[in-house]
Amino acid sequence: MPEMRLLIIEDDREAASYLSKAFREAGHVADLAHDGLDGYALAREGDYDVLVVDRMLPKLDGLSLIRSLREQEVGTPVLILSALGQVDDRVKGLRAGGDDYLPKPYAFSELLARSEVLARRRGSAAAGAEPTAYRVGDLELDRLSHRVTRAGQEIVLQPREFRLLEYLMRHAGQVVTRTMLLEHVWDYHFDPQTNVIDVHVSRLRAKVDKGFERAMIHTVRGAGYMVRAGGEA
């Protein structure tokens, strides 16, 4: 993942500096703002890849901040952090113009993975429409014909497995967490109690990687999964 420039708008200074440090350690650059007005000013002027916005902020609350930015046609992807981890809160956040939503408390790996995906989406949106096919190493996925081949050999996938691989390949080179998979492949936002996603991924992996020297689907411990070419099976 190339370096990301983030703006973290969070009034809890301790949490904010922890986040900025953690992002720095992950190879990114993070600026901090501690209230809604500062955050709004920085977000308008600075060239950020992702804004991480707390919902409850002094001076200007998170949702109003996002709405104002969108009115000013600032399209920077926004990830909303919220202590109000409820379904309707997520919907309200996304309606206000947020791009993703993460309820507190969260794992930093989750925040990092989601921020990277948002930053990348910004890049690809700038580059144009989604491609009709993905290619990672010798693995190819054709979104129109729903065909998957590896080194020219066709791999037969169930519809759900196809969508799983599609999502992983769209974010090739990025960490995709289990909850992100549940959100985008199954369209549910709850937290699966058991390793339901892991089993689906390992089934997919059995079809995609079995018999090949190099693995495509990698497990990132403590975070999620990543599709990339190279690495041992």
């Binding site: 981890g85 309820p103 790996s109 549910y188 699966p192 109690q193 390793n195």
Partner: protein, 481 residues
């Protein structure tokens, strides 16, 4: 031990003997006793008065009839021997001792014979019966006695008086009046003392109750009111209060159990977390450190899950997320979630079957119902092991309700535990050894309540059947082109 601040100090009895007495006077028992006493005294007054009045009437009748007898005797003597004979008889009888009175006078009122000396003026002028004062003895001057007398006018203007002294009657009257007075004093006195005694007895029991309840308010929940065993109203009150205290105690124990469970269930993973980090500190091997950190993150994630679930239950129970509900097909949700878990079930050798009737439209949150179904299927996989490895997910319509069911063939839940497992942090002994926090079913129950539905735990004979019963949306979902 100090009385709790919530207790109104105004109702505490002030110190001092007078204050104690005045608190006695204020008791209901004392006031009631006084009312009874007044009623009883009035009754006694009436009865005694009636008796006294009757006694006097009987005595008067007796006196009058004695006088009548004397008169008939004297009139015989007069008829036989005229005035002279009458005077002789009167003189003779006057000398005899007794209460009988006689007097014969000239038309001018001068004494001729008899034992009556003095009479108020004018008495002799009016014939007939009357009650009057008189002087006893022929030469008496003062009117010191009383008598009932009858006066006749004899031919020739002479007057005859026949009477009887009423001293005896008056003495009896005085005796009765005295008895009357004393008995009233006694009744009132005894009644007053009795009231005080009763009031004190009742007050003492009430004071005992107050003392015990004050102790209970101060935190001693094991205190119980004494029951005298007489079955009176205070006993009934004490028994009811005791039953109430038992119930409160039960609820408190339940609360304590929940908080103990929270403390225990959160302490265990935290301790594990700390120990792992502690153990890793002693190592220089990057691989060991890395593994320890990853395990730490995993434990933290578990804790985050618990907090999320607790928060979510609290928020669902507060009913705060009702605004974003919409119509959706609950049958489709059941199938999707069953499919989500099918892979993990198969890995454990459990077959998940799923069937759903079409158009099971429910007004609510697809997310939450999905979460509820996930929890139920997860439970079935976790605790349904042991029997036939099958988990059946079904969605059907039952009248105005949509019924989503997850059934396993495991050991099930004994009937007496079925209501309990819906409580937060309740884990049955059989489940203690497995990972989990006892929040899954609580969350599902809260989701069901949010949708005005219910979570029912049923017997699958064998196994467990968890049923999510949701009201169907009133109008069918609009056709999606």
């Amino acid at each position: 031990m100090s009385a709790p601040a919530a207790f109104d100090p105004a109702s505490r009895p002030p110190d001092g003997a007078w204050a104690r007495l005045s608190s006695l006077f204020r008791t209901t028992a004392f006031k009631l006793s006084l009312v009874y006493l007044a009623v009883f005294a009035a009754f006694a007054f009436f009865v005694l008065g009636y008796v006294a009045w009757n006694a006097r009437r009987v005595l008067d009748d007796q006196i009058v009839s004695t006088i009548e007898a004397e008169i008939s005797g004297l009139s015989e003597q007069y008829a036989a021997g005229g005035l002279r004979r009458l005077v002789a008889v009167v003189e003779r009888r006057s000398r005899e001792p007794g209460a009988s009175l006689y007097l014969v006078t000239t038309p001018a009122g001068e004494h001729v014979a008899g034992n009556v000396g003095a009479l108020p003026p004018g008495v002799l002028a009016e014939p007939g019966q009357t009650e009057t004062a008189y002087g006893r003895g022929a030469d008496a001057e003062s009117l010191t006695h009383r008598a009932i007398v009858r006066i006749f006018t004899l031919p020739g203007g002479f007057r005859l008086l026949v009477g009887r002294d009423v001293e005896e009657r008056d003495r009896l009257r005085a005796v009765i009046a005295r008895a009357f007075g004393w008995s009233l004093i006694l009744v009132v006195g005894l009644g007053f003392v009795g009231s005080l005694f009763i009031a004190r007895r009742v007050l003492k029991r009430v004071d005992d109750m107050t003392g015990i309840t004050r102790g209970i308010m101060a935190g001693d929940l094991d205190g119980r009111l004494a029951v005298a065993g007489s079955g009176d109203e205070l006993d009934r009150l004490a028994r009811n209060l005791n039953a109430m205290l038992d119930r409160i105690g039960e609820l408190m124990r339940g609360m304590r159990e929940v908080s103990d469970n929270i403390a225990h269930d959160l302490k265990t993973p935290l301790t594990r977390l700390r120990n792992k980090a502690d153990a890793a500190l002693g190592s220089d091997d990057p691989a060991v450190l890395r593994a320890a950190l990853e395990a730490t993150i995993e434990e933290s994630d578990n804790l985050i899950r618990v907090f999320n679930a607790l928060l979510m239950i609290a928020r669902l129970e507060a009913g705060s997320s009702r605004d974003d509900l919409a119509d959706f097909d609950a049958g489709a949700v059941a199938l999707e979630v069953a499919e989500l878990y099918e892979a993990v079930a198969e890995e454990r050798g459990v077959a998940v079957t799923a069937e759903a009737a079409p158009d099971l439209v429910v007004h609510g949150s697809r997310e939450l119902i999905g979460q509820a179904m996930a929890n139920l299927i997860d439970n079935a996989l976790k605790y349904g092991a042991g029997g036939e490895p099958v988990v059946a997910v079904s969605a059907a319509r039952d009248g105005d309700f949509v019924v989503l069911a997850v059934a396993d063939r495991g050991p099930g839940i004994p009937e007496e535990d079925r209501a309990r497992v819906l409580n937060r942090f309740v884990r049955l002994e059989t489940a203690r050894s497995r990972p989990g926090f006892g929040l899954g079913l609580s969350l599902v129950a809260a989701i069901a309540r949010l949708h005005d539905g219910a979570l029912l735990i049923e017997d699958n004979g064998p196994g467990l059947r968890a049923v999510l019963r949701l009201p169907a949306a009133r109008s069918p979902a609009p056709e999606v082109p």
